[in-house]
Symmetry: C2
Subunit: 79 residues, 2 copies
């Protein structure tokens, strides 16, 4: 079973990396970029066969390791 986790900074938290990308794109002539937010996507191959238990396990992984829940939010997709 595959799980895909998106980890992004919470709204309102300054994203210096996103800002750096926005400036770089501007210097390269891409004028129409109003905002850039950058985060992580993590694809997991799980031996679990049941979607519900897989989601619960991945949620626990996010809470403990994959996301810094003080400043980051995450979403989980099970496929």
């Amino acid at each position: 079973m595959k799980a895909r986790v998106h980890v992004m900074l919470k709204d309102g938290v300054l994203d210096p990396q996103g800002e750096a990308v926005r400036h770089a794109l501007g210097h390269m002539g891409f004028g129409g970029v109003e905002g850039v937010r950058q985060g992580k996507v993590i694809e997991l191959d799980l031996s679990a066969t049941d979607a519900a238990s897989a989601e619960a396990e991945v949620k626990e992984m996010c809470e403990k390791l994959l996301a810094n829940t003080v400043i980051e939010k995450y979403t989980i997709e099970i496929a």
Copy 2:
């Protein structure tokens, strides 16, 4: 208009970061993790109003800056 870009390492390219996450999860007791691949997700706010031109522009951004196309692949979603 919003665009979301996923940048992942190409298949076959070693992902040391993913391996590190897999080992860490294993040490934390998450035994059922067979593989981990980590990449970037970039959310762009574009002033473009036409989806086709926005996609073409984002593709050019990926080719020039957002992805290292030698070892990375990318997907673009326009919303």
